[in-house]
Symmetry: C2
Subunit: 390 residues, 2 copies
């Protein structure tokens, strides 16, 4: 009656320790060998062996810390070398594609972006432009790319990066992961933009300490990403939900999706333009300027954005009651809302959500990453895989 389960082979353990240590450095930044040993629960000799191996491969360097604390021999600082593991992050938005080369540790080494119009938004056009720009960026920065992460505003099958429907782009059934991967020749992962926004907030933004969070971002559409117990929430066959299409207003505006009064139709970018008396296709810069002006005139906020705030709050109550998150991060365009609007939405959640009361008050906060959240999330998506294979 002996153990039939296959044992842990030394090779597996070594690889596991190596990627755990890299992940710690990538997310938490440089630290001493002693801290690594404590945080990872490994003994000093194991840490030394792993760090020595990584230093030999040029992935980390070691340095004497500038400030010594206490007596005794100082523990060496271990620093990840950004150029040693680089990923390409691509954020395909409705009006723009943003790209960045991101080094281990999260440093953005170089960027490129271009605007999209109806004619340049076709999948083939976008793929060609991404590939060309990737080569230019790579050559310019003289980096070796280890992986690619792509954010798309649509319903994505994670296994192979197949984009089922990206309505605001006008995309349907695009084998984006496969097509990009085939040309770029790097491992390419594709994720839903809201899910990647949530990942970014979790790893590098407002939700670093939270393991249950909702990230909500408004663009032409409205998307929400959910992390539960530290992991992205996904439904059947890996599809993520579409928070923008919870129904908040029966008999409301018709949504492209076939429903009426979706959260997206009531608090997306066009809805915000309408509330402000602007044309629905007002450029983002002008819209943000208008919101800034309004924030400086608090007397007008309630009459202008009162109803918008109600729909924002109503959707938040539904989300909080369903998912019991610790906090909700408002991202992207929603970061430009006047503080009074965010306060009022917060008030609505606290007044009307019994789950918020049960958990001691769900926090509603504004993203510090702003427009970069999805790009950062796309990089983290790529790093999840890359850190396993270094």
């Amino acid at each position: 009656m002996t153990a039939p389960t296959s044992g842990t082979r030394p090779d597996d353990a070594r690889r596991h320790n190596r990627s755990a240590l890299l992940r710690r450095l990538h997310v938490g930044g440089p630290c001493t060998r002693a801290t690594l040993a404590t945080e990872l629960g490994l003994n000093r000799s194991t840490i030394k062996a792993v760090v020595d191996g990584l230093a030999e491969a040029g992935v980390v360097t070691e340095a004497v810390p500038s400030q010594r604390s206490g007596a005794g021999r100082p523990s060496l600082m271990v620093l990840p070398q950004p150029q040693s593991a680089v990923v390409l992050a691509v954020d395909v938005r409705v009006d723009q594609v943003a790209m960045a080369m991101v080094g281990i540790g999260g440093q953005i080494l170089g960027r490129h972006s271009w605007n999209l119009h109806r004619t340049t938004r076709l999948p083939g056009e976008v793929i060609t432009h991404v590939v060309e720009s990737a080569q230019l960026l790579r050559d310019e920065l003289a980096v070796v790319v280890s992986g690619v992460g792509v954010s798309v505003p649509g319903v994505v099958r994670r296994a192979d990066g197949f984009v089922h429907e990206a309505p605001n782009l006008g995309w349907r059934d695009v084998a984006l992961g496969q097509r990009l991967g085939a040309v770029l020749q790097y491992p390419t992962l594709v994720g839903n933009d809201a899910e990647l926004g949530a990942l970014a907030e979790h790893v590098r933004g407002a939700a670093r300490e939270a393991s249950d969070l909702v990230y909500l971002s408004a663009d032409v559409g409205l998307g929400g990403g959910v992390i539960v117990g530290g992991r992205p929430l996904r439904g059947t066959r890996g599809y993520v939900g579409e928070l923008g299409h919870i129904l908040v207003r029966p008999g409301g505006r018709a949504c492209f999706c076939g429903a009426q009064g979706c959260w997206e139709t009531e608090v997306g970018e066009p809805a915000l333009c309408r509330a402000l008396g602007l044309p629905e296709d007002t450029p983002r810069g002008a819209l943000v300027a208008e919101l800034r002006a309004l924030a400086a005139a608090p007397g007008e906020i309630d009459s202008t954005l009162g109803e918008f705030t109600e729909w924002l709050g109503a959707g938040l109550v539904t989300v909080v009651n369903m998912l019991a998150p610790e906090l909700v991060v408002l991202g992207d365009l929603l970061t430009a809302l006047p503080p009074r609007v965010v306060d009022r939405a917060r008030g609505i959640v606290h007044e009307r959500s019994l789950v918020s009361r049960a958990v001691g008050g769900t926090r509603i906060t504004v993203s510090p990453l702003g427009r970069d959240a999805r790009l950062v999330g796309a990089a983290e998506l790529a790093f999840e895989q890359v850190l396993e294979t270094i």
Copy 2:
């Protein structure tokens, strides 16, 4: 540079194999040693050792299968012995408490229930009655109880079974798990009723093959339990969401929770009574009889339940769009809805939910467990722990 992770000790492996095998028998029913070996990925000698140990302890028996397939020595059937591991399941509902002793394998060995009224609904009263009834049932059946699972219609902290708020019972801040456990002297776990309904459907009901499902049950309140990737969905600090309090109808009826137009106020039991022109406190039996009569007169269904069906469908669209489940199981009172109503709700989801379209059509089905779902779920909650410790 050797493996620092603690190895798998033979004792752990033996215990792990034992509980995996018990879980297989508990959920899937009797099967041959050969099937156990295949399904659990263990070799025959390990299976033999585990089964022999369990047989010696009286937890299983072995028998020659009645039908022999093919030539050769027949593989012995392994049968769990229901009396050998018994849990007490308690379903605290708004109008009733139901209890059952459930044996390993899921067989209900004995039951007891009593109605609740305003005066007998107090936590102290309920606890006293549960304890007395447990002793009577135990003596009557001459069983040894290994654990207790309790279902409560409220917000429950799983760690210690603390009931934060069970509004329809009028309970607030009741240390139910602690109080029951202290008197019964058995390990006692408490769960939210909808979460346990979902667990029951997953283990023994309509969702055995699904790992992403939503269970929706209507009683005085409306509750929903969610299983994602085979595990219950829980938010911060283990709290589960409250699907009954997603907002479906702005400016709708005031809900006790502080919001208006919650899903619960529009499709709970009182709402169904109102739609049928019955008093809100119509007894369950009379309500179900009325629904049966209506099912036989399809011409009247749309005019009577048309609006009810719209709200049911609207909430389902929100839930499906947010969680992308493979199927939604309608439980409890909702199992009594005329099939035409369920068909129409299904139609609403298929027409209006883009996520349903993306996943190839979310299934909407009616629970085969009916009113027993939470009781079955409470038993499974207890067994989760008990099977680990046999």
